[in-house]
Amino acid sequence: MRNTFVSGNAYGTDLSRPLAQWATKVAPTAVFAILSMAFVANAQAETLFVTLEKDNALAVVDPIAGKLIKTVGIGQRPRGIVISPDNKFLYVATSDDNTIQIIDAETLKVVGQLPSGDDPETFAINAAGDRLYVSNEDDSLVTVIDIADKKVVKQIKVGVEPEGITASPDNRWVVSASETTNMVHWIDPKTNTIVENTLVDPRPRSLGFTADSQQLWVTSEMAGTLMVLDVNTKQIIKTIPFDVQGVTRDKIQPVGVVIDKDSKRGYVALGPANRVAVINAQTFEVESYLLVGQRVWNLAFSPDQKRLYTTNGTSNDISIIDLDSQKVTKSVGVGNYPWGVAVKP
């Protein structure tokens, strides 16, 4: 029922000989060339790993073909996911197992575990790739883990219900946001102590540094805002409200936030508003709202930052956004409650 257009050609008899020659000599070479190009292109294409909270599994997606490749069973209630800087291992917070699983990014086998503390959900890896910082929501703690030793280095007492956490690219800061205290806590990774706190809008949810580590972007789920903090002064320099035409205010719940490497644009997932907000990172104006699946949660760039991937919790799919055209090109069903996404080049 669904086909693409096929164009047909009619050739005269005088054309048949050169055509036959072409078919026997040129065509196989051309086909081989095209196939090998396709193979190279395929080899270069990235792979997405999506945690499926309700399926206790990891979905593997080819985002170029827009296809789910396979689903692999892992620990219980997997949520947060990051990939090691060398792209060899995936770290997945399996919340109901109270651990972080180490998964080989090639074989997708669980090769180890990290002591995360209770109910790990969100965590961050530092730029060097040797430490993980885990939010323990129920215990109001941030657990620092040494990956090589698989040991807890320290547990840092933070505000009530810590959720979002991130490490700055220059390795100078680890910032944790506590949802109930409405604060972001600036942790010095050298001493693993809180150096400063900044009061922010209610229920801060997710955090992201700019590539130059000069700004920290924080989303507030309850106020429906994005705050931009200056890293040097640790003060809010801009608060950006969101307003989606035809969507009530209570549905606008900003969560995941990412900023591109040139600090041209930032992207904020707006939860049940089913939109990703596109923000000009220079003027802090909201440029547009892109329609994606339901309850959009977390975001990740492709390695070349030409695409953005979103996990859509309640519509059980991911959306692929082409960043050159700023258009959502495809949504791909992955499984129940996709939560986090990591990209392997």
């Binding site: 086909n3 257009f5 329609l291 692929i320 959502v328 090109t329 495809k330």
Partner: protein, 267 residues
């Protein structure tokens, strides 16, 4: 020489229709305003109310206005088809139909030329509508704007043939209101122009079947798929067969010895 004769007649009919369309600025504007009101007012109102699941040819979530755009294209062609039939009745009342019909060329050819003329006008309207929609951020892939042309030609011919068939039944201009009530509205509302089939199935199976077998639905789906560079063969066959059936019936209807003209006392 004979071919040239055919060509001159066809061109004359098409030119007359285009000329009439261009000079009647009100008609051009009203043909555009109707779908635009639906797009800007109706679709905007339903934007939040209707969550659309992903159905082919779409590959991701779309806003309601994106969904109804092919339906509104169908609406343009449906109204245009009916407008052409109205002009046939008018021509008959004014007597210009008589001049056309005494032309020494086959009747089917004259009717087909008339049909092509009307379809040409509707395609012009559709592309202007699509251009406005583009600025309203309803953008299909660029290839879609090429693929949609043959789809528009077939759907325009089918809806025009339906108009021709109806015009063979209508004796006076006043009866046109009946066409509005009994043909245009049911055809438009009982179709996939405004709501997807699966949505209709939720409320009524009967409505679902009526919409599914409505040739207007199939024309809209043909346009919808073509606009996204895809070919819906089922919609194509259905629309094509509907065109042949309507056209044949219209040709019979316009035959003075067999059709409706005898009962009505000729043109």
């Amino acid at each position: 020489m004979r071919l040239l004769h055919y060509w001159r007649a066809m061109w004359g009919i098409i030119w007359r229709e285009l000329w009439r369309f261009v000079t009647q600025r009100e008609r051009f504007i009203s043909a555009l305003v109707r779908p635009l009101v639906w797009l800007f007012v109706f679709a905007a109102g339903f934007r939040a109310a209707l969550g659309l699941a992903i159905t082919p040819p779409y590959e991701t979530y779309i806003l309601y206005e994106v969904y109804i755009t092919p339906g509104l294209i169908g609406m343009i062609q449906l109204f245009n088809g009916m407008q052409s039939s109205l002009s046939m009745v008018y021509d008959r009342e004014m007597g210009s139909m008589r001049i056309l019909m005494v032309c020494p060329l086959p009747r089917w050819f004259l009717l087909l030329s008339k049909l092509l003329a009307g379809t040409g006008v509707s395609i012009l309207q559709v592309y202007v509508f699509l251009a406005i929609a583009w600025f309203y951020d309803i953008q299909a892939p660029w290839q879609g704007y090429l693929w949609v042309l043959p789809a528009l030609l077939l759907s325009g011919l089918m809806l025009g043939a339906l108009g021709l068939l109806l015009s063979s039944f209508i004796k006076q201009l006043e009866n046109f209101a009946g066409v509005m009530n009994f043909v245009i509205f049911p055809m438009f509302f009982m179709s996939t122009a405004l709501y997807p089939l699966w949505k209709m199935k939720e409320s009524s199976t009967l409505l679902y079947h009526l919409a599914h077998y409505n040739p207007f639905s199939q024309a809209v789906e043909l346009i919808r798929f073509a606009l996204y560079g895809q070919f819906n063969s089922q919609a194509f066959i259905y629309t094509f067969v509907a065109f042949i059936v309507f056209m044949t019936a219209a040709i019979i209807g316009y035959n003075p010895s067999k059709g409706m003209m005898t009962r009505k006392g000729g043109a």
